[in-house]
């Protein structure tokens, strides 16, 4: 299970895009859904990309928590859910890091979005695919501008996560 997960971590995004393209293509097994070249297809692809990273890093975060946390919660009468919550609370910094890393992977992703989305203007053009297109068209200043927007977005989300973790609790 962990090996599969770790392989999924290193999966090239273009390959994921290809597989989903194959599944969603009109003649593919899920073709009837008509999802190919829609923004929903991009969401599906990005979720599949982010899930293994989020899962693997969260598992590592939880495993790294002091075993006394679980025992302490249990001996104080906590049930399964409350105990899990107590463990997650103690691991919240590493769990947040898992979210940040998964978010980073999705944010910077081009290949899958391009293949399953098709880079259709006003429909499935994402910031990264737009940058790719602008660069290949020689519109360098537009590409840089969009890149800055993307960076600002990444920064904002990271700052928000940092704030959510609560300040002063290093």
């Amino acid at each position: 299970m962990l090996v599969l997960l770790n392989t999924a971590l290193a999966f090239p995004t273009v390959v994921i895009g290809l597989i989903i393209y194959g599944l969603l293509a009109r003649r593919g097994p899920l073709g009837a859904l008509g999802l190919l070249f829609t923004w929903q297809a991009i969401v599906v692809a990005e979720v599949i990309l982010a899930l293994p990273i989020a899962t693997a890093l969260s598992a590592a975060a939880v495993q790294a928590v002091d075993p006394r946390v679980r025992r302490t919660a249990l001996t104080l009468g906590a049930g399964t859910l409350r105990t899990a919550w107590a463990v997650a609370r103690e691991a919240r910094f590493t769990l947040a890091a898992a979210v940040v890393v998964a978010f980073g992977r999705v944010l910077s992703e081009v290949g899958a979005a391009l293949i399953v989305g098709g880079n259709i203007r006003h429909e499935t053009r994402t910031l990264t695919t737009a940058i790719t297109l602008a660069t290949s068209q020689g519109n360098f200043s537009l590409a840089v501008g969009l890149g800055l927007v993307l960076l600002a977005l990444a920064l904002t989300v990271n700052v928000l996560i940092q704030l959510l973790q609560g300040r002063g609790d290093a």
Partner: protein
């Protein structure tokens, strides 16, 4: 009815039996001390009694009902609480930690706040209520952990080496809080300690464990005696020996002689030690740079000496030695 009762209990880790205890019953309001060296099975027994792990064989009953299966153990954990040797405090405030078990029990805010305050007061921790739990001293952590455990009003409180990390004052606060609690209700207390002095000062019963088994001999020079009284300097009969002790007590008592207070010599010492006995070495055990020498002097005495002295004196099993110790080295409990 016993608060906790054990029958045919066995625990196995990695194919090795780490604990084997046929029977044990701890009555309401009892103070049972588990004593024995590290690795004797004390912590294992406490975790089993806390229903944090399930035994390889045997049963543990809580207030007369055998506890078996996940659901029963979960229910039992609401009534028995373990304070670990190095207690873990959750992130957040001291008050937040003490509230944990109360919230787990389904209590809501005004009640939780009130119980938290009461529990903190019992351990004189009111001033620390809003402090960050991560910024406490070891002694404070210990007290917070005990307050957190007492807040849930368990029928049995289990403590693993409560005195090992805490400073003297923290220990005092903890033991008096437990005594206070016991004067209010029949709280059962079981604690593990490798310090016999603590065990004897506070417990009303003692279970000695050695390599996972109850040990019939009390560890390390403990003797039940009857003090004659009448003077501060007393001569007490221990088996065939007469031991000089300093105590103004009278009647039944326990004598403890720390093994490192006993001096071994080849000939009787001309010294201030009032107790000098001739004996024969019956057992030897090596512990790193120390040797544990058991002498039969009519009663068995254990002395700890350095490996170096042992070699220089040329001691061996069967050899004759003199054991000397001062009367003030004999602790009376």
């Amino acid at each position: 009815m016993a608060t906790l009762e054990v029958a045919g209990l066995r625990q196995i880790y990695g194919g090795r039996t780490v604990l084997s205890l046929e029977t044990l019953a701890v009555e309401p309001g009892a103070r049972l001390a588990l004593v024995g060296p590290n690795g004797a099975g004390k912590s294992t027994l406490l975790r089993l009694l806390a229903f944090l792990e399930s035994p390889a064989a045997g049963t543990i009953s809580l207030e007369g009902h055998p506890v078996a299966g996940g659901a029963a153990r979960r229910a039992a954990r609401r009534r028995v609480t373990l304070v670990e040797q190095r207690p873990y405090l959750f992130r957040g405030t001291v008050a937040g930690n003490v509230a944990f078990g109360l919230r787990a029990a389904g209590l809501r805010d005004p009640a939780v706040e009130q119980r938290v305050r009461a529990a903190l007061e019992k351990l004189q921790l009111q001033a620390l209520a809003l402090r960050d739990a991560r910024q406490l001293s070891e002694g404070e952590i210990q007290r917070v952990a005990v307050a957190r455990a007492l807040a849930t009003e368990p029928v049995a409180l289990l403590l693993d080496e409560p005195a090992s990390s805490a400073d003297r004052a923290a220990q005092q606060a903890m033991f008096s809080a437990l005594a206070e609690e016991q004067s209010r209700r029949p709280l059962t207390v079981v604690f593990a300690s490798h310090m016999l002095e603590d065990a004897y000062r506070w417990a009303d019963r003692l279970l000695a464990l050695h390599q996972g088994l109850p040990s019939p001999v009390t560890p390390e020079n403990l003797f039940r005696v009857d003090l004659p009284g009448g003077a501060t300097m007393q001569r007490v009969a221990v088996g065939p020996l007469r031991i000089d002790v300093v105590s103004d007590r009278m009647g039944p008592a326990t004598l403890a002689i720390a093994p490192d207070e006993i001096v071994l010599s080849a000939a009787p010492l001309q010294s201030s030690a009032r107790n000098v006995f001739r004996g024969r070495i019956v057992r030897l055990a090596e512990h790193g740079a120390e040797m544990r020498v058991t002498i039969d002097a009519g009663i068995e005495l254990v002395a700890i000496i350095t490996r170096r002295s042992f070699d220089e004196m040329g001691l061996a099993v069967g050899g004759e030695v003199y054991a000397s110790f001062k009367s003030v080295a004999v602790k009376v409990f």
